[in-house]
């Protein structure tokens, strides 16, 4: 068994991280992403994925392969399973059947520490803006006021750092949520409709931050209903329909030469049910 662990560790840095002993109360060094593992996390392979709830099959034998490069946009009508897919690949939900592998490994706590999730409705702690960032940095064993202020500066919230986070506007809350996600130094940044119901100025700031992260090599997986946003950010597009991937293609092909009827209808502005 020991040989097997060592062999895994040699082949895959994630295995080494997973088997590393806990120190400092079993947490600080255990949770801190110490290196850029984006390369070892990919390809992300999803095969025959099934998820059911309330007697309904919400993800229905989904297959998908994601490469490391580019920003992947996920689109589709409500109820198509976009948010579920994100939570399944992030390891927050357990599928009923099928396989998910990040660089050959199933979702785990260890892998999740290299991924960050930004949700449509940000869950902010009942603390100040600064303390929301500090909390994440502290869990990673990096209590650093300069780093926190730099992150708040990036999202334009430095002057509001002492304000209660829950008193911020919707756009500001979302920017704080994104800053908190970036504090993790993630290899993968997952965003679930982060700009839904935000004004154009707030959308622009979020998109700039996402682009900046992507240009640093962070893999971005972005759920949106906004076709314009997909044009602006997307490298490839996954279109989901009724719990399956209806089409996975480049952003150019998505708009210019869609193969599936569902995508043709969606791009043409027709209602897709």
């Amino acid at each position: 068994m020991r040989d097997m662990t060592l062999s895994m560790a040699k082949d895959n840095p994630l295995a080494a991280t997973a088997s590393a002993p806990n120190t400092v109360g079993g947490h600080a060094s255990d949770t801190a992403p110490a290196q850029d593992l984006t390369g070892t996390l990919f390809p992300l392979k999803v095969k025959s994925l099934v998820f059911e709830a309330g007697g309904r099959r919400l993800i229905d034998g989904l297959d998908l392969t994601l490469q490391r490069t580019g920003t992947t946009m996920i689109m589709g009508p409500n109820g198509a399973g976009k948010s579920l897919l994100l939570r399944l690949i992030h390891g927050l939900l357990q599928p009923m059947a099928g396989m998910i592998e990040w660089g050959g490994q199933p979702p785990s706590d260890t892998l999740r520490r290299f991924q960050a999730l930004v949700t449509q409705k940000p869950v902010l702690l009942r603390r100040s803006v600064a303390e929301n960032i500090d909390f994440v940095l502290r869990t990673l064993g990096r209590t650093n006021a300069d780093e926190r202020d730099a992150l708040l500066g990036q999202v334009g919230l430095l002057e509001l750092r002492d304000q209660p986070a829950r008193k911020l506007s919707g756009g500001e809350q979302q920017r704080l949520s994104l800053a908190r996600a970036l504090a993790i130094n993630p290899s993968v940044l997952m965003l679930d409709e982060p700009t839904a119901s935000l004004d154009p100025a707030s959308v622009l700031v979020i998109e700039q931050l996402v682009n900046r992260a992507a240009s640093r090599g962070v893999k971005v997986i972005f759920i949106t209903h906004d076709l314009g946003q997909t044009r602006r950010l997307g490298g490839d597009v996954i279109f989901m329909h009724r719990g399956r991937v209806a089409e996975h293609t480049s952003v150019e092909n998505f708009f210019e030469a869609p193969k599936s009827q569902a995508v043709r209808d969606f791009v043409a502005g027709r209602i897709v049910l």
Binding site: T31, R113, R126, A165
Partner: protein, 235 residues
């Protein structure tokens, strides 16, 4: 009516004079009830937090029991503690009956379910709200619980104050296990009962006024804490 007014006048005079007996009774009342609140918080918060986040068979039954015990009659608690601490009881050898310690035990038993039940609800609500964020961070349970308890602190302090209010105002349990012994186990509520039966309405009213003042202070504190938390958007 005139007697009633006279009793009020005497009561205020007694309060303002700083009567030593009165102060002793008030001091013991606060000591017993604050101690009971402290022990109840330690036990009740731990129990409430555990039930809030743990999933185990019979969890719903435990919640029902917590909620039911919130209305525990003080005289029943007093009787049970009396039986346990009396010479023939399992803890009789400790010699605690008719001591402030027995009163603290009785009040602790009385208010622990209140603190457990209310804190369970508060912690569960907040934990559910934070759950996905914590799991996304792959946060260990102890760290997640620490964060939830810290963020719920204003609500939990209000729960503790509610427990204190219940403890300081109850008479049945402390009467049975304390015995209302002068200079030893006499607290405000038992003294009020005794002085009323003796016809000394002035002292009874004076104690009643102090009890009301304490109760009002506790409520005002709870209200201002809530308002302060809401103002800062922490609630």
């Amino acid at each position: 009516m005139q007697d009633f007014a006279e009793a009020f006048r005497l009561a205020f005079a007694l309060v303002l004079s700083g009567d030593a007996d009165l102060l002793e009774i008030i001091g013991l009342s606060l000591h017993v009830s604050f101690s009971a609140m402290f022990f109840s918080c330690v036990i009740g918060l731990a129990l409430g937090s555990f039930v809030a986040v743990a999933r185990f068979p019979g969890r719903s039954a435990v919640i029902v029991i917590f909620n039911t015990l919130m209305g525990l009659p003080p005289v029943v608690v007093g009787l049970l503690v009396y039986l346990a601490l009396s010479r023939a009881g399992p803890f009789g050898a400790l010699g605690l009956l008719y001591t402030p310690a027995a009163m603290i035990i009785a009040q602790t038993i009385l208010i622990t379910p209140i603190i457990a039940a209310l804190s369970r609800q508060i912690v569960e609500d907040l934990f559910n709200e934070y759950d996905e964020f914590f799991r996304s961070l792959a946060l260990p349970m102890w760290q997640a619980m620490g964060a939830v308890l810290w963020d719920a602190r204003y609500s939990l302090i209000t729960v503790a104050l509610a427990g204190f209010g219940r403890a300081v105002a109850e008479v049945g349990a402390v009467m049975i296990v304390g015995g209302n012994i002068d200079h030893l186990t006499r607290v405000m509520t038992t003294a009020i009962a005794l002085e009323t039966s003796k016809g000394d309405l002035a002292l009874a009213l004076a104690l009643g006024i102090v009890l009301l003042a304490i109760s009002m202070t506790v409520n005002a504190l709870a209200l201002s804490l809530r308002a302060s938390a809401a103002r800062q958007a922490y609630a």
